[in-house]
C-alpha cells in the first residue's frame, strides 16, 4: 500500500486527460466543481464545461440531451444529490432513453463526515442498481477511480461512478487492465471469501491479516462493478470457500451485499454475512469516528467472517448426519 489519495482525485485526473484524448467528452457540474474535482477540466476546456448551478435534476436532463446528441457527458455532484434528488431524471432522461450519460458522484457513503446524514449517501447503490440499463461502479482507490473513469468513456450507456471524498491507500495493484463487470481478486483464500467495494477493500485486506493470525485463510475480492455483477467469479469463490462476507460503505439493504445475496441464494446458497450500515442514517463526526460507530471496521469484518465460517460448519455437520 502506497500514498493515499481519494477516488475523486483519480476521477479528476482521468477526466483532464480525457479532455485531450476525446473531443466528445464534456462535463457538467451543479456548483461543486472543486469538490468533485472537475475544476481542472473546467479551466482547461471551458467550452466543454457547463455550470448548471444548484439544480441537479436539470443537470441530469441537460447531460442526457448532450448524450442524445452524441457527446459523452460527465455529470458531477455529490452522490446523495444525484442518486436521490435526481432519481427520476436518472430513470427517465438517462436510463429509459438509453442515453450515454456518466454520472460521476463524490462524497458517497459515511466518510463525507462532518456534513452529517443529509450529505451522506447510504442508499444510492440500491436505487441505482435497481434501474434498468444502469451500470454501477464503486472504485476502491485513486488508481481504480482513474481506470474506471477511462473505462466508462468506452462503455455505452448510463454509468453511475461512485467516488469517495477521503484519501485511501492504493490497494489495487492489478497488472491486468480494469474491466467493467470483472471482479478483481486481490488475495486468494480457502476458508471464507470477502467481497468488498470502495474504501472497504482496504479494511477487508486488514481483516484478512487478522484472520490469518487466527489460522483462517480468507480471500479478498474487489467487486468494483456492482452492476453488471461478475456472477461467474462470485459463484466460483462461493464454491471454493463455502461462505461469504460482504463489506461496503453503504446500507446492507440493496447494495453490494444485497446483490451478492440475491445471486447466491439462487445459484449456490452459502452463508452470507453483510458488513455495512444497518438501516440507519449517519450523523456528523470525523470519517474514522463514523466508520467505527456504524460498524464499518476491520473487526466487524473479522467477526462476520467467523460467523459465516461457523454457519458453514453447521451446514456441513447437518449434511453429514
Amino acid at each position: 500500500m502506497t500514498k493515499a489519495k481519494s477516488g475523486r482525485d483519480g476521477f479528476g485526473k482521468a477526466l483532464l486527460e480525457l479532455g485531450e484524448e476525446n473531443q466528445n467528452v464534456v462535463a457538467l457540474c451543479a456548483d461543486l466543481a472543486e469538490s468533485v474535482r472537475v475544476e481542472a477540466f473546467a479551466e482547461k476546456y471551458p467550452e466543454r464545461y457547463f455550470q448548471i448551478g444548484i439544480s441537479e435534476q436539470d443537470m441530469i436532463g441537460t447531460a442526457s440531451g448532450l448524450a442524445l446528441s452524441n457527446y459523452i457527458p460527465f455529470a458531477t455532484t455529490y452522490a446523495v444529490f444525484a442518486a436521490q434528488r435526481a432519481n427520476e431524471q436518472i430513470r427517465l432522461a438517462a436510463c429509459y432513453n438509453q442515453a450515454n450519460v456518466k454520472i460521476a458522484v463524490s462524497h458517497a457513503g459515511l466518510t463525507c463526515g462532518e456534513d452529517g446524514a443529509t450529505h451522506q449517501a447510504l442508499e444510492d447503490i440500491a436505487s441505482m442498481r435497481a434501474m434498468p440499463e444502469m451500470t454501477v461502479i464503486v472504485p476502491a482507490d485513486e488508481n481504480e477511480a482513474y481506470e474506471a473513469t477511462k473505462a466508462s468513456t468506452e462503455w455505452m450507456g448510463p454509468v453511475y461512478l461512485r467516488l469517495g471524498r477521503t484519501p485511501v491507500p492504493i490497494v489495487t495493484n492489478d497488472t491486468s487492465p480494469f474491466q467493467i463487470g470483472k471482479a478483481r481478486t486481490i488475495k486468494n483464500g480457502t476458508d471464507v471469501s470477502i467481497f468488498a467495494c470502495g474504501i472497504m477493500v482496504e479494511r477487508a485486506l486488514q481483516a484478512r491479516e487478522q484472520l490469518a493470525s487466527a489460522g483462517i485463510n480468507a480471500s479478498v475480492i474487489n467487486i468494483h462493478t456492482i452492476k453488471p455483477l461478475d456472477k461467474e467469479a462470485i459463484i466460483n469463490e462461493a464454491q471454493q470457500t463455502g461462505c461469504v462476507v460482504t463489506a461496503e460503505e453503504h446500507s446492507v439493504i440493496g447494495g453490494l451485499g444485497g446483490a451478492i445475496s440475491e445471486l447466491l441464494t439462487e445459484e449456490f446458497p452459502v452463508p452470507v454475512h453483510k458488513v455495512g450500515t444497518n438501516d440507519t442514517f449517519g450523523e456528523s463526526a470525523s470519517p474514522e469516528e463514523l466508520l467505527e460507530k456504524y460498524g464499518l471496521t476491520t473487526d466487524k469484518i473479522v467477526t462476520a467472517c467467523k460467523k459465516a465460517l461457523g454457519q458453514k460448519e453447521q451446514f456441513l455437520v447437518r449434511e453429514r448426519s
Binding site: 457547463f50 435534476q57 436532463g61 442526457s64 442524445l68 457527446y71 457527458p73
Partner: protein, 281 residues
C-alpha cells in the same frame, strides 16, 4: 412551405387520428387535440428533418415534454413518413413501438422519452448545447403543458437556457388551463406565465395556439430572436373543435365512447389530407 389552409387541414387529420386512437384504446385526447395546430405547423412546415433518416445530425428537434399527448405526435410522425400509418393502430398495445407515453428507444424519430412531467426543457437544453459545440444552427422546439410548469425542474431549466443564452430553443407552453384535477388556476395558479419567463430572461410571445397564422408568426419571430431563448405562450383549448370536449377537464385523460368518437369526428369534419380511418391490423 405549407400555407395556413393546408396546415389547418393537416391539423384536422391529426385530430381525427387522435380521436380514433384514444376511442378504441386509452389515452389523453383533450390536450392532444388542443395542440394539433402547433404540431401540424411544426412537422409539416417548420422542422428541417428527414423522416427516412431520423438520426440525421443537423435536424431540427421536437422535444415533447408532456408525453401524455403523444397521439398527436405519433399521428404527425406517421403522416410525415416516420413509420407506416397502419402502425398507429398499435398504440398502447402489447409489443408496440407506440407506448402510452413516448419511448425513445422503441421508436426512431422520437427525440426523448417523456411522461413524468417537467423534464423536456432540460433535455432540450442539452441538445442545444451540443448543437452549439458542433457549430450547428439547428433549432430545438420543446412543447410543455401549462399544468406541467408547476414542476420546479421547468424553472431550473428556464434559468439554464437563459444563463447559457440558448437562443435556438423555442419553448411552447400549451396553455389550455386544464389539468387532471380541474382548471389550472384553481389547482395551482401559474399566472402570470409570460411575465415569469420574461423575468427569467426569455423572449416571450403570447399567441392563440389554435390560430395557425399566429403560430406561424410566432415561429418566424423565434427564428429572428437572438441572445436568449424564446417562450411562446400559446393559448389553446382542450378538445378544440369538438363541442363537448372543449374546456372540459374530464377530457384530459378520458377515452371517448364509440358514439362520442363518431360525433367528434363529424364535428371536426373532413380533411383534404384524408378522412379515412386507420385500418386495424
Amino acid at each position: 412551405m405549407a400555407n395556413t389552409r393546408e396546415i389547418k387541414e393537416i391539423s384536422k387529420r391529426i385530430k381525427r387520428d387522435v380521436i380514433q386512437l384514444t376511442s378504441k384504446n386509452t389515452g389523453h385526447p383533450g390536450g392532444a387535440i388542443g395542440a394539433a395546430d402547433i404540431i401540424a405547423e411544426l412537422y409539416f412546415n417548420r422542422l428541417h428533418h428527414r423522416p427516412s433518416q431520423p438520426d440525421w445530425e443537423d435536424r431540427d428537434r421536437f422535444v415533447l415534454s408532456n408525453g401524455h399527448i403523444c397521439t398527436a405526435l405519433y399521428s404527425a410522425m406517421a403522416r410525415s413518413g416516420y413509420f407506416p400509418i397502419e402502425e398507429l393502430w398499435t398504440f398502447r398495445k402489447l409489443n408496440s413501438r407506440l407506448q402510452g407515453h413516448p419511448s425513445r428507444h422503441d421508436l426512431p424519430g422520437l427525440e426523448t422519452s417523456a411522461g413524468p412531467l417537467g423534464q423536456g426543457l432540460s433535455i432540450a437544453n442539452g441538445m442545444a448545447l451540443a448543437n452549439r459545440l458542433r457549430g450547428s444552427d439547428a433549432k430545438i422546439y420543446c412543447l410543455v403543458g401549462d399544468g406541467e410548469i408547476q414542476e420546479g425542474q421547468v424553472w431550473e431549466a428556464a434559468m439554464t437556457a437563459a444563463h447559457h443564452h440558448l437562443d435556438k430553443i423555442a419553448l411552447i407552453v400549451s396553455w389550455n388551463d386544464i389539468q387532471i384535477d380541474g382548471h389550472v388556476k384553481d389547482v395551482m395558479n401559474i399566472e402570470p406565465i409570460a411575465e415569469k419567463f420574461k423575468a427569467f430572461g426569455w423572449h416571450t410571445l403570447e399567441i392563440d395556439g389554435n390560430e395557425v397564422n399566429e403560430i406561424k408568426m410566432a415561429f418566424d419571430q423565434f427564428e429572428q430572436n437572438t441572445g436568449a431563448p424564446t417562450a411562446i405562450i400559446a393559448k389553446t383549448v382542450i378538445g378544440k373543435g369538438v363541442s363537448f370536449m372543449e374546456d372540459e377537464a374530464i377530457w384530459h385523460g378520458k377515452a371517448p365512447s364509440a358514439e362520442e368518437a363518431t360525433r367528434a369526428l363529424e364535428e371536426i369534419g373532413t380533411s383534404s389530407f384524408g378522412t379515412e380511418l386507420i385500418t386495424e391490423r
